[in-house]
């Protein structure tokens, strides 16, 4: 039977994560045990060392970028994919709220984690951040809408409604990105 993900609940203790390693389910929605074994075999024959960090976490855009700088390679603008550049666009936000809204979740998390660290010690934010990283990797392919259920539960945003649920809901967008380009971009092949 195909295993859905390697984590059954986001609140497993730390040892389970370190030993298991993350499944490199790069190309499949569900990872089967056979595929994992095949990957192991291939990487051994090619001489690659098995990286203990999951492949997913090294993919593009897995860590959100704060600020307005372009997201191409080396910080240069990717004219083919993101259109022409304007230095004014990069230096000045088009609206005073743009930067603050882009980084809102990041800043909230930073504030909460630092408060937690001051109250309960370093272990508390460390464990929580590990769970966040794990939950953030449970995603469908880039062009498909992911439910982010584990991430929502951890954040507590499954019990609140904000503008991000009403305006510009990606699940209701009228356009779909080109599947091959999006996956290749995510893998860094493009």
């Amino acid at each position: 039977m195909a295993t859905r993900t390697l984590f059954h609940s986001p609140l497993r203790p730390v040892e389970d994560f370190v030993g298991a390693g993350f499944a490199p389910d790069v190309s499949s929605y569900y990872t089967t045990q056979a595929e994992v074994r095949a990957y192991h075999r291939e990487s051994v024959t090619k001489g690659d060392k098995m990286n203990s960090r999951g492949l997913r976490s090294q993919l593009k855009d897995s860590v959100p970028v704060a600020g307005l700088c372009p997201q191409g390679a080396y910080g240069l603008q990717d004219s083919l994919r993101s259109g022409f550049t304007s230095i004014k666009n990069e230096l000045l936000p088009s609206h005073p709220l743009e930067l603050s809204e882009k980084n809102f979740q990041l800043n909230q998390d930073k504030m909460n984690f630092s408060t937690l660290r001051n109250i309960q010690g370093l272990h508390a934010p460390l464990k929580l951040q590990m769970e966040y990283r794990a939950a953030r990797q449970i995603q469908r392919l880039p062009f498909l809408p992911s439910s982010n259920l584990a991430l929502d539960t951890l954040r507590g945003s499954d019990e609140s409604i904000g503008f991000e649920d009403i305006l510009c809901d990606p699940a209701q967008s009228e356009v779909m990105g080109e599947p091959h380009m999006m996956v290749e971009y995510k893998l860094g092949m493009l």
Binding site: D61, Q71, R81, S82, N89, P93, S94, H95, P96, L97, E98, S100, E101, F104, P142, F143, L144, E159, S160, I161, G162, F163, E164, D165, I166, L167, C168, D169, P170, S173, E174, V175, M176, G177, E178, M181, M182, Y185, L190
Partner: protein, 266 residues
Amino acid sequence: MSSQMPHLSRASSFTSRKHEPSSTKMATLVVSRPPIAGFSFENCKRNVLLEGEASKLGCSLPAARKTGTTICGVVFKDGVVLGADTRATEGMVVADKNCSKIHYISPNIYCCGAGTAADTEMTTQIISSNLELHSLSTGRLPRVATANRMLKQMLFRYQGYIGAALVLGGVDCNGPHLYSIYPHGSTDKLPYVTMGSGSLAAMAVFEDRYKPDMEEEEAKRLVRDAIAAGIFNDLGSGSNIDLSVITKGNVDYIRPHDEANKKGIR
């Protein structure tokens, strides 16, 4: 860029693609990053440019519909009375002669809204939904202080760009409460408050005749007179007077309570 791509979940739409005539070519957007939910600031620079062009030509872009309002609230012996006028303006024109400015937040909490009509409407609806989820999660009747905190945090996050000035009132397990919430996120907890363009006229009436621990009829008369002062002395307020009387276990939504400015009667 035509964007007629059917949603992936409807499998049948994919088979119908084969039967489409060759003249309708579907183009997909080349999108490398998934769309971000929430507010999108893509058009801000374009809008600034358009405003500049329009002012050069001498005309102006259409204004958002404001409620240019008189809203007020007063705490009496057993609860809270909220009052509002019913005119919505769009620049110098009356857009709605009988709009409803007292919004439902929860069975025991109501909120009057002044400022940009869409902002007050959406803000109160979002907070109402959040409060419902919160009360389902705690299993208790929501408190007015909770609604106040949620509203204040949301309005501060958007730094006053959401133009919603609110009068929040209700009765919970700790008694009757009344708050006024400003667009930038500051709040005041007071026994009587007024907001909107007619707030000075209404506040003059309150300052003259407010007494603590009034009876219900006296409080209703006071609020009615305060709103009437705003209607007659302020251009942005007019038409009828809506009242909402909230007591423990009961809400009286009186719309209209008084037709101060009847259309057709000079």
